[in-house]
Symmetry: C2
């Protein structure tokens, strides 16, 4: 199972690809960050994120995309940008018929550290250990993207198979209703 | 000046195209709603919205896209979906090099009714009058999209010209920084 994890953000969008199955050693295929300049127009930043995510999908051909679920109780100033960046990541995946899974930050922390309230450092340390890396990936967004991918591999493989079948069936018949007058 | 107004939403995304210049009678070229089923996967809903917006851009070739600015103080349950739908609309516009303008609901209401706190009915009535329609467009999302387009035509034409020049200059050099380690 090959999973692209995405920690969405307008300024730094963490991305990481992990391959493996639950109960076996995992392998990291790539990790990085898609960055967009804070002074650019919002529309252009979204286009830059789309290009970045597309490049990662092209290069690594994941079978699943796991995106952090955005909550509105977070910092009000950044949550809108995070929601918009996550929309672009979900759009890129769904356009290819890839199943998209959303995991909350606490689900991810619980999956990789056993504690849903773990600190950033602890998540980075466990990602480093689980993927047998030499050092924790930097910045934290990159480590979080890998943690998302690991979390997805470990959570509910049966649910994944079901979701993948549904996604394939739906890919050819996404409904759009338009109404034009005049 | 031809403007596509977008009132973003996952279930109903209002779209309306208006042509004209400030100080002259305006003309509606089209109005409608892009709908997605509430029980579909979020990624697929975003793909359906992308297809819908693209179809409107293809058909009407607007020079500007005006999107309602989403605030997080709105209903917390719907604001995330609204932010994600607006991201798709902005992405579609920016990908074509079209300038994207964001207007707040009160700016739109003030532009078309003179009152930033006007009711939905009043906005619908003024849109009907300004565009010389037989009846207010339904649902309200469709009327709001037309109001956004009118608001954009009437607000700051000088700012538009500047923004359009910037967008054209930027379209060819959107920066994406990627970093891959392994």
């Amino acid at each position: 199972m090959r999973v692209l994890g995405v920690d969405p953000g307008l300024t730094r969008c963490g991305v990481g690809v992990v391959e493996g199955v639950a109960g076996r050693p995992l392998r990291m295929l790539g990790v990085g960050v898609v960055r967009t300049p804070a002074d650019a127009e919002l529309g252009d930043r979204l286009v830059a994120i789309e290009r970045g995510i597309e490049a990662w999908l092209d290069e690594h051909r994941p079978e699943y995309v796991a995106v952090e679920r955005v909550f509105s109780q977070h910092n009000v100033r950044t949550v809108m940008g995070t929601a918009q960046a996550s929309a672009v990541a979900m759009l890129c995946a769904a356009r290819r018929g890839l199943p998209v899974a959303l995991h909350t930050p606490s689900e991810v922390k619980a999956a990789v550290t056993g504690n849903g309230r773990a600190e950033k450092d602890q998540v980075g340390a466990m990602v480093t250990r689980l993927l047998r890396l030499d050092a924790p990936p930097k910045p934290a967004d990159a480590a979080d993207a890998l943690a998302l991918a690991i979390c997805h591999i470990w959570r509910a493989p049966a649910v994944n198979r079901l979701q993948q079948a549904h996604a394939a069936a739906r890919a050819s018949r996404i409904p759009v209703v338009r109404k034009v007058t005049r």
